[in-house]
């Protein structure tokens, strides 16, 4: 089974937390470095459109730093940090909801609710998905992988993708949809095989 970085039973982390509590602000970098990726992965997959994920992640780290005296050493630091992040995400979503037009322009309400429901899942799941996704991406043939590269790395427009692949824009859209489904199924299958919750 893959080792998840979200685990908090780890001595460098405990040392860093102790050091921060003793006044060494710089030691907090260890905490940020360890949780940056899982926290951003969790936020990216649970934040509705329009939320600045990096901003919420940074606010969560800053809040964890200022409230570090509330954290009980020996307990699950990751769970404590993600509780703070969940609160900050909720606050940001509440703020966005008050913005005129938000729902109309960005967020189908039902998606919003489903993401909110999923936010109670254990946070390490998204980190696991991310790790499995990278493996699944590596298994894609180049003829499929290029669509992912064009869309997410190069961020080229759909019509350019259509021109490059000799297909219609509609076909490219459909291809992207199928690829996302295929990758989702691959990730789910890998997680099930490893006995991880999905």
């Amino acid at each position: 089974m893959m080792t998840r970085k979200v685990s908090s039973n780890d001595s460098p982390l405990d040392d860093a937390i102790r050091s921060v509590r003793n006044g060494n602000t710089a030691a907090f970098e260890v905490v940020v470095r360890q949780f940056e990726r899982p926290l951003r992965a969790w936020l990216a997959t649970h934040a509705p459109p329009g939320v600045d994920v990096d901003e919420v992640a940074q606010r969560s780290f800053v809040a964890a730093f200022t409230r570090l005296s509330d954290y009980e050493p020996g307990t699950n630091f990751a769970a404590w940090l993600f509780t703070i992040a969940r609160f900050h995400l909720k606050t940001e979503v509440s703020r966005l909801r008050r913005v005129a037009d938000y729902h109309v322009r960005y967020a189908p309400d039902l998606l919003h609710r489903e993401l909110e429901r999923r936010s109670s899942e254990p946070p390490e799941i998204q980190q696991a998905r991310l790790d499995h996704l990278q493996i699944c991406l590596g298994q894609l043939g180049e003829h499929l992988h290029r669509f992912i590269r064009w869309r997410y790395v190069e961020e080229i427009p759909l019509d350019e993708m259509a021109a490059r692949s000799g297909r219609s824009v509609a076909a490219v859209k459909k291809q992207l949809w199928q690829l996302r489904r295929k990758l989702h199924e691959c990730v789910q299958a890998r997680m099930a095989a490893e006995g991880e919750p999905s």
Binding site: R21, N22, G23, N24, T25, A26, F28, E29, V32, R33, E36, R37, R40, A41, A44, T45, G50, D52, D54, Q58, R59, F61, V62, A63, F65, T66, S69, A100, D101, V104, R105, P108, D109, L110, L111, E114, L115, R118, Q126, R129, L130, L133, Q134, L137, I148, R151, Y152, E155, P157, L158, A170, K173, K174, L176, W177, R180, R181, L183, H184, V187
Partner: protein
């Protein structure tokens, strides 16, 4: 096409940002009550976000995130005290010996040296205080500050110095002027979100809203950077105006020169004085720098495009589309005020500036359900400069409008007065007493604490408006 195929089509368009309001409504209706489609949508969305995350992943991005986060950590007095208390026992050469007893045993010179060393060690232990970056030099309305440690300050005062953090004018009539140590000023107005930082150079992140800046010449290689959702601006020393929203950024340069990078495709343009450019997410359009068009003196609202705030009421039958006032919380937490606001952008999506000329009049059409006082306001800019203040005029509507009779009023430009009279007295050149000669930036109206059911269907500015018909007075018939 069956519903699954239609869902796939709509959902793809949604993820690509190509779904319009009616499409979102259709998508909403399609997935309502169909848990399978909702699950598919959420799975696809989460996969889309994870793919985006992997694509962005790089060591430099991670390092950037970490250094920015660490830089935001507060230097907090409790940490300072804790740090000193933790270090003192280690500083004492003998366990169980207090510093006082120790000093009493030592010759004076050694004791003095020890005190100096102790002070030095304490000073070196103290986390660096967050440097003050800007000072608030003018302020109006409800403006919130979120500073180091995520502390939220709901009410600010003129003269307050601020370290890095985020400033948010919360309503159409809110604004704040910030002055950097080198004299550069930035004015942020209307509903805007601006994050300020200065590590190696001045950096502003305008997530949404409007900003005017007068920037002093900056050191070589350290231009002021202004980031918006769609563009990156490098400013060496200039006067400029920026309007940012999620899909586009409008930059207008009055003096100096600004280098613009469109984030969608990395294309770059230099914008000289008296020129402007729009950097949108649409990479198919040319990043075209154009000379600032000559201003016009007339404007007619286009509610769907211009709407900044207010509830959209689609027309039906004989009635036209309208914007009804929507509530907005204002004031301090101790004394909250609810404003019922409609706000329209005049400058957004219009490359041609609108000049307010002597004798011009606003004609406002709409409906109002109950009597009450309505405030009508303008946000203005200097033609070759930045923010020029807000102007208001109030009108009391009597019972005559408590019928279905449409509202049709005229407001002369001369009737508007500065929202902050004191400011005009203090800085008559920066904040003139009259809006004549200024550019119109946005238009708004509101009622205070009472929802009068005000709905706006059209606003016009023209020097030659035909006087609205005055209903005959029944008493004179």
């Amino acid at each position: 096409m069956n519903s699954d195929e239609r869902f796939t089509e709509l959902w793809n368009d949604y993820l690509e940002g190509e779904l319009d309001e009616s499409g979102i409504a259709e998508l909403q209706a399609l997935v309502a009550g169909d848990d399978r489609l909702i699950q598919m949508a959420a799975d696809s969305y989460q996969m889309h976000r994870l793919l985006g995350l992997i694509a962005q992943d790089s060591t430099s991005r991670q390092d950037g995130f970490i250094s920015e986060t660490v830089a935001r950590l507060p230097a907090d007095d409790d940490h300072f005290v804790d740090g000193v208390m933790q270090q003192l026992p280690h500083a004492a050469p003998c366990k169980g010996t207090t510093a006082r007893k120790l000093l009493a045993k030592w010759p004076l010179t050694i004791a003095a040296a020890a005190v100096v060393a102790l002070i030095a060690s304490i000073v070196s232990l103290r986390p660096k205080a967050q440097p003050e970056i800007v000072r608030i030099t003018e302020l109006n309305g409800s403006v919130r500050w979120t500073g180091g440690g995520g502390r939220v300050v709901p009410a600010l005062d003129v003269g307050r110095s601020l370290p890095g953090g985020t400033l948010e004018p919360l309503s159409a009539d809110s604004w704040a002027e910030l002055t950097f140590r080198d004299g550069s000023t930035v004015t942020v107005s209307g509903q805007s979100v601006l994050t300020i930082s200065e590590y190696r150079q001045k950096e502003l992140h305008l997530r949404a809203g409007n900003l005017s800046a007068s920037v002093m010449p900056q050191p070589d290689g350290q231009p002021m950077l202004i980031h918006t959702p769609t563009a990156r601006l490098e400013v060496l020393g200039t006067q400029l105006n920026v309007e940012a929203e999620l899909s586009s950024t409008m930059l207008s340069v009055n003096t100096g020169r600004v280098r613009v990078t469109r984030l969608a495709d990395g294309s770059v343009a230099e914008v000289p004085a008296e020129h402007q450019v729009v950097a949108s997410v649409d990479r198919h359009t040319e990043l075209k720098v154009i000379r600032r068009p000559r201003p016009v003196d007339a404007w007619q609202s286009d509610l769907p495009t211009d709407r900044l705030y207010g509830k959209w009421l689609p027309g039906s039958g004989d009635s036209s589309d309208g914007l009804r006032t929507a509530p907005l919380l204002w004031g301090s937490p101790e004394e909250p005020i609810t404003l019922y606001v409609v706000a329209l952008s005049v400058s957004r999506n219009r490359p041609t500036p609108v000049l307010l000329t002597s004798g011009a009049k606003f004609r406002i059409r709409g409906r109002i359900e109950s009597a009450g006082k309505v405030y009508f306001g303008l946000t203005t800019k200097h033609v070759k400069g930045g923010f020029a203040g807000k102007f208001v005029v109030e009108r009391h509507f009597e019972l005559a409008h408590e019928t279905d009779e449409p509202l049709d009023i005229e407001l002369r430009l001369d009737d508007f007065h500065p929202q902050e009279q004191l400011l005009t007295k203090k800085y008559p050149e920066g904040f003139p007493a009259s809006p004549v000669g200024l550019e119109l930036f946005d238009w708004w109206c509101c009622t205070v604490n009472e929802d009068a059911g005000l709905e706006i269907t059209q606003v016009e500015l023209d020097a030659g408006i035909v006087e609205p018909k005055v209903p005959p007075d029944p008493k004179q018939m």
